[in-house]
């Protein structure tokens, strides 16, 4: 099954790594035609995120790139060449959305900033995803997901009672993940607006602002009284809400709501303080503890470890991950339209895979014009 809800829209994708490339992937999954544009001097860094593969075409082997850029077309176009920039603007003239997460100022330097794009297509939507936003004193500061966890206020709320703030690090980089969800929604809202106003828009999305937005209740509380101290809540109030170690050394998350408290007391044969639950949990293996707690209406899940993540029942997460055309694991679509899961994921583009089709079919270039551009190095299939 493939989705076609937003088919007919064309997205020119300058998005890289997670924040940008994952946003356009979501739009591709929903049915948009996404054309990823890389340059011979600047590949998506995900093409070598774990180091270069040993094959001669190392740029086509990266698991991270394949996982994120499936369901897209891809061209390799030298935007620094006049002819490349001209080709790009011709693509923009026929597109609906341009998406980018380059460093601040790069679009202007390449001569493809919003003013330029909107001159060739007044209905174009430009979505710029950046760390800090496109204005303000820190607009040009380079940041990564975990820098933004720190500066957004999120890290301060993620700590042991006796410990210091924490970041999720390279393993997760939370702001990078959530910004693609927000940006995809914002682009769809802009397409809604354009459907009615016939006007394009420049969307300036700040990852740092989004991360602060996602602790908005803490900002409201702390701004009012500095009451956000000690252990910050995780979820709604509960009688017990924490992780416990079991006899087989697994961590199990347990949330006993007030509605489940009585049955939980009967199960544990004790009052529900953390210490009593801890003793009960420590005396049995995780699977048994979880089974018993669930039978009493208690929320209980084993904390899956990162190195065991592949052992998770694939049926449970079939919408989150999928097998790509070449069998590699790729990201899925985290929502379902209709009754069926999205299951069709075309392979991520090898560098410049769709150069010819783009030039001939989309732009109407002749074979000789295309060959000339290849000869000039404007269209390529390998990095410089």
């Amino acid at each position: 099954v493939s989705y076609s809800a937003i088919s007919g829209f064309r997205v020119i994708d300058l998005g890289i790594i997670t924040a940008g490339a994952s946003t356009s992937a979501l739009l591709a999954d929903l049915g948009a035609e996404v054309i990823k544009v890389e340059g011979p001097g600047y590949l998506d860094p995900f093409r070598s995120w774990s180091g270069r593969a040993t094959s001669s075409a190392w740029w086509n082997e990266s698991p991270q790139f394949k996982a994120t850029n499936r369901n897209k077309k891809g061209i390799c176009l030298d935007l620094k060449a006049d002819a490349g920039r001209e080709i790009f603007l011709r693509l923009v003239a026929e597109a609906d959305v341009v998406l980018e997460n380059f460093r601040f100022g790069v679009l202007k330097k390449l001569g493809i900033d919003y003013d330029t794009l909107s001159r060739v297509n007044e209905r174009i939507i430009l979505a710029s995803i950046s760390s800090q936003g496109a204005s303000g004193p820190l607009a040009s500061r380079v940041s990564y997901g975990s820098s933004l966890e720190a500066s957004s206020g999120l890290s301060s709320l993620m700590r042991y009672p006796d410990g210091q703030p924490q970041i999720t690090g390279k393993a997760f980089n939370y702001p990078d993940q959530v910004v693609s969800l927000f940006a995809a929604g914002a682009i769809l809202a802009a397409l809604v607006d354009r459907e009615r106003t016939k006007r394009g828009a420049f969307l300036d999305l700040s990852q740092r602002e989004l991360t602060s937005f996602l602790i908005g209740e803490a900002i409201m509380a702390s701004g009012a009284s500095s009451t956000v101290e000690g252990r910050y809540p995780v979820g709604s109030p509960a009688v017990v809400n924490r992780t416990f170690l079991t006899s087989d050394d697994q961590w199990v998350a347990v949330t006993i709501s007030s509605s489940a408290a009585e049955r939980a007391r009967l199960l544990l044969s004790s009052e529900l303080d953390d210490k009593k639950v801890e003793v009960w949990m420590r005396s049995r293996p995780a699977a048994e503890a979880v089974r018993g707690l669930r039978s009493a209406g208690v929320a209980a899940e084993i904390a899956w470890r990162a190195n065991g993540y592949e052992d998770l029942d694939p049926i449970r997460l079939r919408q989150s991950f999928a097998a790509g055309e070449d069998g590699t694991t790729v990201k899925g679509l985290p929502l379902r339209l209709g009754e069926d899961d999205l299951q069709r994921f075309t392979a991520a583009p090898q560098l410049g895979r769709d150069n010819r089709a783009c030039a001939l079919d989309m732009l109407g270039l002749t074979e000789s014009e295309y060959d000339s551009l290849v000869g000039q190095g404007v269209f390529t299939q390998a990095p410089r």
């Binding site: 720190a150 709320l157 210091q164 690090g169 393993a171 009284s225 709604s236 961590w251 998770l312």
Partner: protein, 343 residues
């Protein structure tokens, strides 16, 4: 202008009507998910009603609290919306956000974004923010070995799922405006969370075998005399890092590659931590900025409103006598909606 004083210079979603509705089978994660998606719709200019008597809204008891003892979470997510007993009736440009199938009566399913704890787990299996993070592998990312794992703070599970629910809502609305065939949308919080945790899923094939809480993570938080900074860097930043901490040792070959740094992670962190421990955050960040290091100050939420970047972009706005973040986006250079003006 609505009850909360929301002014919207431009309302991209004007004309869209969204109802939030909860029922006996609603869950707390579902309430959060629906509330966040509805908040986004409101801030983009839709009319949003919460079909509920506000006095019975369980969210009013959720932490953290405002000085008057009321819930900051309820105020943030719900108080800005219009409460009324019944949702908008099903009609064109009108959609329902709910997490309880018993609320669907009278609604064509293709006008509903239905939220569930997980797409493919039995609905009777209870879930919470914490247990869903466990099931999605998010409780093996932050923490110290031997201690209980740390979780993302607050309501991140519901918020993350709410972002996906908003995508669903926008997709359905766009399809309707274009006269396409509408389809029902379903969002599972576990599935969204697992999707965000894709790097761990790929760890075994991507070469990033350092996973889990016990991993040797290069990036960390270091203490300064007046707070903390996040120590973030890439390979190319190593000469700058060596200069910042004044350590010739960090210029050695062994620290120029991630493999070398990970193999000597304790020494690396000790060198950096010692060098930063006697300096102020401002002092460290000034040098980091000069050297092109992507360090960052660790801010407390109470420091966020006065941050110069946020002030310049008017990110924090007044909502009556409180401060709150605006929609985290500028549209043609302007905020879409404000809550009564700048603080």
């Amino acid at each position: 202008m609505n009850r909360a004083g929301v002014r919207a210079p431009h309302r991209p979603l004007a004309g869209l009507k969204v109802s939030e509705r909860f029922g006996p089978k609603s869950t707390d994660v579902g309430r959060t998910t629906v509330s966040l998606a509805g908040l986004l719709a409101l801030l983009f200019g839709a009319d949003v009603v919460r079909a509920q008597d506000p006095s019975t809204d369980p969210m009013k008891n959720w932490s953290p609290s405002l000085p008057d003892g009321s819930s900051a979470t309820f105020t943030y997510l719900a108080a800005c919306k219009t409460f009324r007993p019944e949702p908008y009736p099903a009609a064109p440009c009108t959609f329902l956000l709910t997490d309880d199938e018993t609320c669907l009566e009278g609604w064509p399913r293709q006008r509903v974004v239905l939220v569930t704890p997980a797409l493919d787990l039995p609905v009777e299996r209870p879930q919470s923010e914490l247990t869903l993070m466990a099931a999605a592998g998010l409780l093996d990312i932050v923490g110290e070995q031997g201690r209980p794992p740390l979780s993302l703070p607050g309501y991140q599970v519901g918020y993350t799922a709410g972002l996906a629910a908003f995508i669903s809502l926008m997709t359905m609305f766009l399809v309707e405006l274009r006269g396409g065939a509408q389809e029902p949308a379903t969002v599972g919080a576990l599935d969204v969370l697992a999707w965000t945790n894709w790097k761990n899923r790929l760890a075994n094939v991507s070469g990033h075998r350092e996973t889990g809480i016990a991993r040797k993570e290069e990036w960390f938080v270091a203490r300064c005399v007046d707070g903390y900074v996040a120590v973030i860097y890439l390979d190319r930043n190593m000469p700058a890092l060596a200069e910042l901490v004044g350590s010739p040792r960090l210029s050695d070959d062994v620290f120029q590659t991630i493999e070398g740094r990970v193999a000597n992670i304790r020494e690396l962190k000790t060198i950096i931590s010692k060098a930063l421990s006697w300096r102020t955050r401002a002092d460290v960040l000034r040098d980091a900025d000069r050297l092109g290091l992507p360090f960052s100050s660790v801010l407390d939420p109470r420091d966020v409103p006065s941050d110069p970047q946020h002030v310049a972009r008017r990110f924090i706005v007044a909502d009556r006598d409180l401060l709150r973040p605006r929609l985290p986006l500028l549209w043609d250079g302007l905020p879409l909606a404000t809550f009564g003006g700048a603080p």
